[in-house]
Every structure is written in C-alpha cells, then in structure tokens.
Symmetry: D2
Subunit: 339 residues, 4 copies
C-alpha cells in the first residue's frame, strides 16, 4: 500500500526537508505540492537538488484537487496560515499534520499572547494531538490532526522528561540555554539573516521571551505535579542546521541519588530515535545533523544536574518528526524513510 | 595639520570601513557623516563597534554644512548616486574621492552599457584620476576628483601590470578567475545574500559579463600597445572579506624567458603596499584580510604563466585605497593610518 | 539477492561516506569493516551518527574472514596501501573497487613520478578499469578491479568530455581552475587543516603540480586525437564538501559554432547522474552536495568557451561513484541507493 | 619616552595578537621575539601579514639579551612554562606580564589540582597581581608580575562583579553558559581542532570541569562575603574569535529590586573598555571582535537575572588586556594602542 501525500508550504525550509525525506520513503507518493505564491513554480527550479528526482509544479492549494489526490496533508506553513486551512482539510476527512505552532498550545490565551494574534480555529485545538511520539504515541495512532512540536521544545522536553516525570528535580529553577542553526528561523529575507550578519558572530535573541517557552512549559507541566515555568534563552549559531540545548536543573532534595544515565536509558528503552550518551559524554550537533535522532547526555555534579540534548532542527525538530508521526498513523515501521 | 573629512554613504560596508580606518588616522578628523536615509541615525547605533569611539549622527547630505565642515569628501555610495553629488561638491572646491564606479570608465558608452544607465556628469569624467597609486601616483597628487578603483580591477591590474606593461604576454588570451568574499557585494538585503544561501556553497556569477571587466580592460589596454579584452569570471566565497584572483596568461613568444619573481619585485620596488611572494609561493586571503596590502605570486610553467593576486576587498579594494589616495593628495606619508 | 560487502579503510572520510550510502542500499549487506589501526574500533564510537544503525567493529583486514564474508571489497585507503592489498583480494576471486589512485594511471612512470613511490603491483594495472561510468560503462560491467576516479578528474573529465571527444576545442590551451571543500583532503591531522587555518581564508595549492593532473590528461587524451596537457590549479574552499571547477577552453577554429547546451544534453542524454544547466545558467555546489550528481553549465563567448562543473567530492568524486560502479557490476539499477 | 618590549611565545595566537597590537602602539618598541622552537624563525615567515611591518627573528629566550634589550617582558606561553621563566626575569628586575595561568590562582592546591602539575615558583604567587584593571587598577600600577586573567574569567567576572559585589544575588546558584571561538584553544595540532571537526558543528566540552572555574570562583569569592562555586559549561563555536557568556543568577530575596542597567552603568562609570547595553538589549560577538571592549547586557525577569557578557578572547581576554595592564604600569593613557 502506498499513501498519497500533499505538502502545503512546499517551498519553505521544512517543505524542502519534507520532500527530501518523503522522496526516499518506500510507501509514500508525493501527489501534490502547494504554496501561497501567486505564480506556479516548478519545484526543481526552486530547489535545484530535486532536478530529475521530482517533477511537480507547486501551486496555490486547491481543495478539490487535494480531495481527490491526497490521503495525508502536511502543513509546512507559518503559524496563522495553518489554522485557516486545517479545518477545511479536516472537513474533507483528510489527516492533517501541521508543522506550525497553531495547534500546539492548548491554552488559547497563552497562544494569543505569545503569537500576538487571535486564534481562528479554536474548535480543533482540543482534539489536536501534540506529535511527540515518545510521550503521545498511542494518541497519535488515531489522530486526525497532529500538532507537530516546535524544534526547541522537542529537544527541551525530550531532555527533561525523565527527570520531570519521575519528580527528581526542583521544578522551579529549570534553565534552558539553547543554540540553534540558522535554518530554524525560516526563510525570511531580512537584514538579520544576511551572511555578513551571522557569519563569525554569535548572540542571544528573544531573551526569555521566545514563543516556544509556553510550549515547553505546557509539556513539562503535563509531566509533573507542578506548574513549570522555565527560563529559556535561545541563541543563533553560524551554522546551517542543528540545535543543542544545555539544561541546568537542581536535584529534588527529597529524592535519593540515582545513576541518571541508566535511568535515561531505561526511560527511553524502546525509542527508535533517542540515543543516550555514555556517562560523562555529551552530544554534539554533528552526530544528529541530517538525522531524526535526539542525542542526550546527562550528569549530576552534587546537587546540580546538567542535561545536554541535540537534534536536527529540520528533521527531529520538524519534518522528520512529522514523517515519524505519519508512520505511526499509517502503521508503518516508525523508522521507515528516516534511517 | 589635521584634515577635516566627510563621508557620504557612511552606513554601507565601505563607509563602515572608512570610519574604522580614519578613526585611527593621526591627521584626520571625521567632521560629517551622511547617508540617504530619511531618518538621522546615530552611527554607533548602526555599528555597535563604534560605541565610545565616534559620536556623530548620520544625516542626509547638507551642502552648506559640508562646505563649512569638510576639506575632503569621500563618496561611499552606489554608482549613479555619486555622479549627482560629485559635481556639486567640486563646485564647492572640495576634493572628492569617489568609491563608486561613476568616474572610472573614460568611455562613456561602455559605462552606460555595463551599468545600464545614462551618465549624468559627463563633464567631469575626463579630469577624474583613476586612483590606483601604483600606476597614477603623480596625477593623484593634484587631483580634485579621484575615481577609486573597483575591488576586482585593483587585484587584476596590479597582478598583471608588470607582464602587460613590459609586453611579456599574449594580450589576447588573458583569463582571470576571481573569487570574492561576501562584503564585496554591498549590503543588499536580498535572498541571494542570506546566510543559508552562501554558507557551505560556492558558485560563479555574472560569468564573463561582470561590470568590472571594462574597467580591467581599460587599464590593461592603457598599459599595453594592444586592445585588451580579458575573460573574467567572478565567484562568491563563503567568507566575510578578501579577494583572490588566479590569472592565466601565455608567454609572448617573441620575448625571452625571465625570472618573473625578480621582475615583479623590481617593478614594485618602492611600493609600500605590494608584497611579492617568493618564487614558487602564492598568496592567501588570510595574509591580506584587514590590511591594505596586495600580495602577488607569479610563476611560469613553460609557456604558461600563472599569477595569483590577493587583496582585502574593503581596504586595498575600496576604503583603504581611498585613504591611500587621500594621503597622497594631502602629502601625508602614504602608509599613515593604514599600517 | 543481497551482495555482501567489505570496506577496508572504513574510518576515513570516504569510508564513512561508503558506510552511509551502503546502509541505505536495499541490496547490500555490510559484512566487514577494516582499517589499519592496531586497536579494534567500534564503528559507532568513531562516527557517532552510526549509533543504532550499524554494529560492526573495525579490525585489521583478515583475508580468511574476508574470503568467507565478502563478495565485493571496497578499498577506501590511501594510495600505496591499496596496491598491497588488491592483488591478494583478486587472488581470492573478490571483486575490488579501489578508491585510491593506485590503479588509475596506466603509464607507470607517470604514476611513480607524481606519487613519488615505486608501484608494487604493476601486473594488475592494465586490466584495471577506470571507473567513470559515463565513459566506461560496458567495461565496468565485467571488471574485476575498478580504479575509482579521483574527485578533481571526475568533474574535469565529465565537464570536458563532449568538447574534447567531438574535437570542438583547441587541445593545447585547456585551463582548469578547481575549488574543493576540505573533505577532499582526507583526514590528515596537520596544521594546514586546522579550523583557524582554513576558516575565513582561501588559497591555491600545488599550483599546476597536483597529482590529479596526469589522471585528467590521460582521460582527455584517450578521448581526443591529440596529447592533452591541461593547466590545473586547485584551491581550498572553507566548506566541508563539494567541488566546483571553472574550465576555460578556446574553440577549434575549424569547427562551426554549435548550441553547446543542446550538444551536452545530447551527449549525456541517458546518464542518470549528469544534469546540464539551461543555457546561461551555471551550477552551484549546494545543488550537488550530498548527492551523486554532476551538474554542468556551458557557454561560449565568441571563441572562448566556459564550462563549469560541480560534484560532491565524497560521492560522485569518490564513494557514490564507487557504489554506482558496484551497481553496474551487480546488475542493479544504476541509481539504487544513490537517489 | 618609548618602552622596549620583549615577547616570549611570539608564535602562538596570543603572541601574534600581542605583536599586532604593539606594532600600532605609539610608545612601544618591540625589541625581542622569543619562542621555544629550536630553529630561529623569521616572524613574517610565520605570520605572512607581518611582512614589511616587523623584521625580527624569533629565537630561544636569551636572558643576557633580554636584560639589555627589554624593559617589559610579555609571557605568551602555555602554563607550566611561564613559572620557569618568570622568576629569572624578575631577578633581572624586569616587569613581567604573564598571559598564562601560572600566577592567577592564589590557592596552590587548587592550581595543582586543575592544572595537574606541581607549581615550581610558589614564592612569587602571592605578590603577583591579578591583571583585571576594572578590579585591581591601583595594585597593577606598581606590580612587578602581572597574572593576566583567562578569557572566560574576564567575561564572567566583569559580567557578575556588580551583582556579587553589591550582594544582590544568591551566591549558591550562579550558572555560566560560555561559548568561545576556536582561537581560545591555542594552536594545538590535534584532531579535535581540524576544520572538518568544528565547521557546522557545536558542542560543550569539559562540562563543569574546566580549569577556568577555580579562577572565576576565586575572583567572585573575593568580591563577596560568601564562598562562591559557579556552575560553568564552556562550548566551542565554529568561529575564529570571540566569547559570549550567558549568565543565570537568582535575586537575593533580602534586597529590593533595582534598575540593573543603571546600576551597571554606575559601577563601570569610568571604565574605558566596558560598554553597558541599553535596557532589554544584549551584546553580540561581532561588536567586540578585534576590540578590547567588554559589552554587557543585564535584565531581571522576576527573581531571575540574566547577564550576557561578550569579549574578544584574544584581546580583552588575553593580549589586549595585557597591553592595557602595560599602559597602567607605564603611566600611559589606558586606551593607548587599543582603540
């Protein structure tokens, strides 16, 4: 059986990456590419590397065409555009995997505050499933609408889940120092993303005010008995892809000391895309770049615990995880097309 | 004696570099900064590195103010803007050092073809002096209007001048394969100059159609008895600054073989900013980056001669050379502020 | 049917890339990894990205083991090591695909001059097939020993083959200005390959003396009626992977002008890994990086023809081409595992 | 008056940077260059950019020569080498500015533990002055032996000094997440510093075990009433130069809230090399690279305070600060040669 797949937003970074991954997927046929540009664009003119590999033209989304051509639709769109299209696609009985932020945050007021816009499809928020397979695999299996996680939250939540779920740390002093390659920022043509602004430079941005913080807080709070409010500072790395997060937590004094590396290995025992580093070792971006893996290293220093978590922002942090979710929904082996 | 200097176009790359150089020049006071933006801009807000170093606000050029405040005016402007301002400044009896292309090309038709615009100040083209000190030092001393050379032509002409001036090579098969860092391209905010487009990539552009070719041809033809028409292919390097040009010429069979390294050393014997590599050695960008030097290596392989020439595109290829010209005009030591 | 494959030299760049490609190949099983290190090395300890993907330990090559375990053996070794091992493997009736230079150059004196070593397996040089499928596909099908081409020669020969084979250019003035990413250089731990030596720098090396020149000359001479001796200048790009070569040739005046883009498209009509750019367009490294494609752009400017050719040095320039050769030998579809 | 200066360790990164700075210093003459290499090295052969600028040959240190030629000696040496030479130079009545770690840590046991070596000049540790002008200017004026601070400690201590000295923060939960360009690591030729290992990668190293931690702790403890033990995690950035440290502290609940930006501006009111960012703004490496400035941004978020501090690791983090110390000792204006 082959699943027919459409991608709306095919000419952005996550769209490009989705095409790359899906072209190699043995059970997928890409049947439609769409974006919001007025002019049709031959996809291999936009991305030269697709020449001789895929021959489709990217057009404005046409619901009639999608209805007949696609079983599953990926929305690789900026937030605020997804929530216009998703309800229409759900009405056509299509499964929707949304890579934007529009359905991630259950608390609408929080969404509206951080994204500074009114939500236009409140009806579907509650039933959307947060697409982090390591935490929500059974719900994903039957989901009609996947809210695919943000890149920073994926690394943060996977890095912290064992400690928070098992109550091993103080939940009121979690610090996440995050560093991301440039592709995390989308394809905006603006001064701040020029080569000369980024090359040989490094800086923080949106210091403790980034819109991924409420998403991290929501998921960690779900795992804990306490309301969690992390300190979150993202920085921009002069590299194309990859995220590394250095996470500082302090031990819950009521808990006894444990071998954290063993504990993480146990917690993620059957996970196909989580690799725990040996005790005393920590991940590097190079090992996860262009893969769907999340590498995690953890060590305690007396009361201080340091966790370092690394992913590829475009794969495990976006398009790879979206395909992992598709595999779960379709009953395919979870690593299919991703290894 | 201190010379009062104004910079029009202070917020571009060459403007930034001019400020950097002139701040360290012991005989210069920067008395005015101008650009074409509607809003005044505190220069240290535009360039954070100037904080606590220079306190001026950049405004639209005001001729009355310039008249009273500045002895010499640098035009660090895009071509087509310089030719509007230069005649007005010359009318005020100011010495003008123009870093744009507007006064470099004596053949107006050629200028208009390659820059695709009508020239608006034909009257001043003839008297403008091409500001390459190694070739035109004596004319520069008394010039009122300097046409500061382009970055590619500076490296090309300095690399070829000894061979062409002495008639040692075939003038009908000169090939210049040029590679430039990104700052050569100005500060355009466009897709092609985004970090993700340039980092980990490399490509040619304007293959044999670049607007610097007629400038190179003009200067080489001036040095020769023949009309020269080079093959010129520029490429974009994923680095901030520096140009390296690999130049291929064939020996004039009527001339006998010479020790080219010695010949180059003799030709540039007293030049403060030309360094000839030892026989068999060739320059690298690292050695000239952030300096006003031009490093040149030359070697013959039978009938084939290979010359490699390297400069910093913002200094010897623009602002440094402009200050070198200023030093010559003012009678300062030529290396002042540039060593 | 599955083919069992061994890799000797598994811990170098080309070895790493071979493993990456072969892990995704549906008809290959990697059954042995070998290198020259005294200590056995778990391959996923050497390359973190292979963790959970391949579980083999890399040991010194053991002929008995190879005899029983491997059908095809890739030699991803430095030149001079291959020629010791290849005859032993051939004696075991194994098919050998050698990625080193040891069997590429038919003229032994030339090999010994450029590689500065005595050849130790002269007997097998004549029967080794130069593994450039676009020129030697039918011979490759039945080859026992493949001399997999060098990275620079692959881009150069593919870029020039149509012009040279059809006699369209002067064969005595071919200039190849080549630029390569750092992985072309192997994994030598030496000062010149330190980050601080390469980042933000650019330079030529082995100017017109590189050991790939005789290989290029051999293949072009084979295609022509004349002895060809190119001018070849390689440069080092501050990027991880990819080669771009800018090639300058002059028209054979006896031939009439043709549409070169059409001619190239016809010449490479059925080639699965050659993509010819539209007239007036030229390749960039980004489009071929991490692929097995060779992109070529060609244009004439009067008597001057400029060809630009780009490949990934580790794939089409090494391991990808080796797998393409393996596919041909095994009768697999040529793009299998490489698309 | 001109001061005669010798540099021992002239061919390392900090040596190169010292030469660069001192060549521009109007009151300095470099009279001797030394290193530990057996062969004399013409300095412009080692560093091509110094050609035509300085003509000295670097030799093994000769005490007789130093005695007669140099007033001040900079030791740009690896730790453990400085402590052999410093006492000999002090015996010659030379002022010594040591850029190594050998005299920074007053607690000898701590030094010996973190540097894993016996100290060989315990006698001079106590009188050595820690060369951070912002804290020790008056002692520096009369110092005979300066222990020039480490790069990470300079950024950390300057970033935290106001908060710690004024008792505004909890001293038991200071977290420093530090990121450094590659030149911070010295010039070791080892696999980990190869271009291919660092480019497009990012990782932490010596997680909470770096030898700069005891230096930071010593200085912060001196400023406080409490013993301070920071959490310190350094990371390696794929850039040539610059350090940025993101520092997380929590408010001392006994203190009332203050305008921290104002407080920092007041604290560093007269400092020539400290620039405090406007409220809500944070530094970037680009603004401090190749300068002697330390840029600091600070902001509180409820009980959480975030400080970001940036310097150039080779200037304010090493050679620039060394020259600043020399200026103070010699009675020169503090910014001389450094602006």
């Amino acid at each position: 059986m082959t699943v027919n797949v459409g991608i709306i937003g095919a000419t952005g970074h996550t769209g490009e990456e989705l095409i790359t991954v899906l072209l190699d997927h043995p059970r997928v046929k890409i049947t439609g590419l769409y974006n919001t540009s007025e002019q049709p664009q031959v996809i291999s003119d936009v991305f030269g590397q697709f020449k001789h590999k895929i021959d489709l033209t990217c057009r404005k989304p046409n619901l009639e065409e999608i209805k007949s051509k696609c079983d599953i639709v990926f929305l690789a769109l900026p937030h605020t555009v997804s929530m216009i299209l998703a309800p229409k696609l759900l009405a056509l009985k299509k499964t929707v995997i949304d890579l934007s932020a529009d359905y991630r945050i259950k608390n609408i007021a929080n969404y509206e505050k951080f994204y500074n816009i009114k939500h236009k499809d409140k009806a579907n928020i509650a039933s959307a499933v947060y697409g982090l397979p390591e935490l929500y695999r059974s719900k994903i299996k039957t989901a009609k609408l996947i809210a695919n996680p943000g890149c920073y939250p994926t690394a943060a939540v996977l890095g912290l889940a064992p400690l928070v779920a098992l109550g091993l740390v103080n939940t009121d002093s979690i610090i996440i120092d995050a560093k991301s390659g440039v592709s995390g920022a989308g394809k905006k043509v603006s001064k701040e993303f020029l080569f000369l602004e980024i090359n040989e430079d490094f800086s923080a941005y949106k210091v403790n005010t980034h819109q991924h913080a409420p998403e991290i807080n929501q998921e960690l709070t779900n795992l804990s008995n306490h309301k969690i409010n992390v300190v979150f500072v993202p920085h921009l790395l002069p590299i194309n892809r990859g995220i590394l997060e250095t996470i500082y937590v302090s031990k819950n004094p009521k808990q006894k000391t444990q071998d954290l590396t063993k504990l993480y290995k146990r917690f993620y025992n059957k996970e196909p895309f989580i690799r725990i580093k040996k005790d005393g070792e920590f991940p590097r971006i190079k090992d996860v770049a262009s893969t769907n893996y999340c590498d995690i290293g953890v060590k305690d220093f007396g009361n201080q615990i340091i966790v370092i978590s690394a992913i590829d922002n475009l794969l495990k942090g976006a398009s790879g995880q979206a395909v992992q979710n598709m595999n779960i929904i379709c009953g395919f082996p979870e690593k299919m097309g991703l290894a």
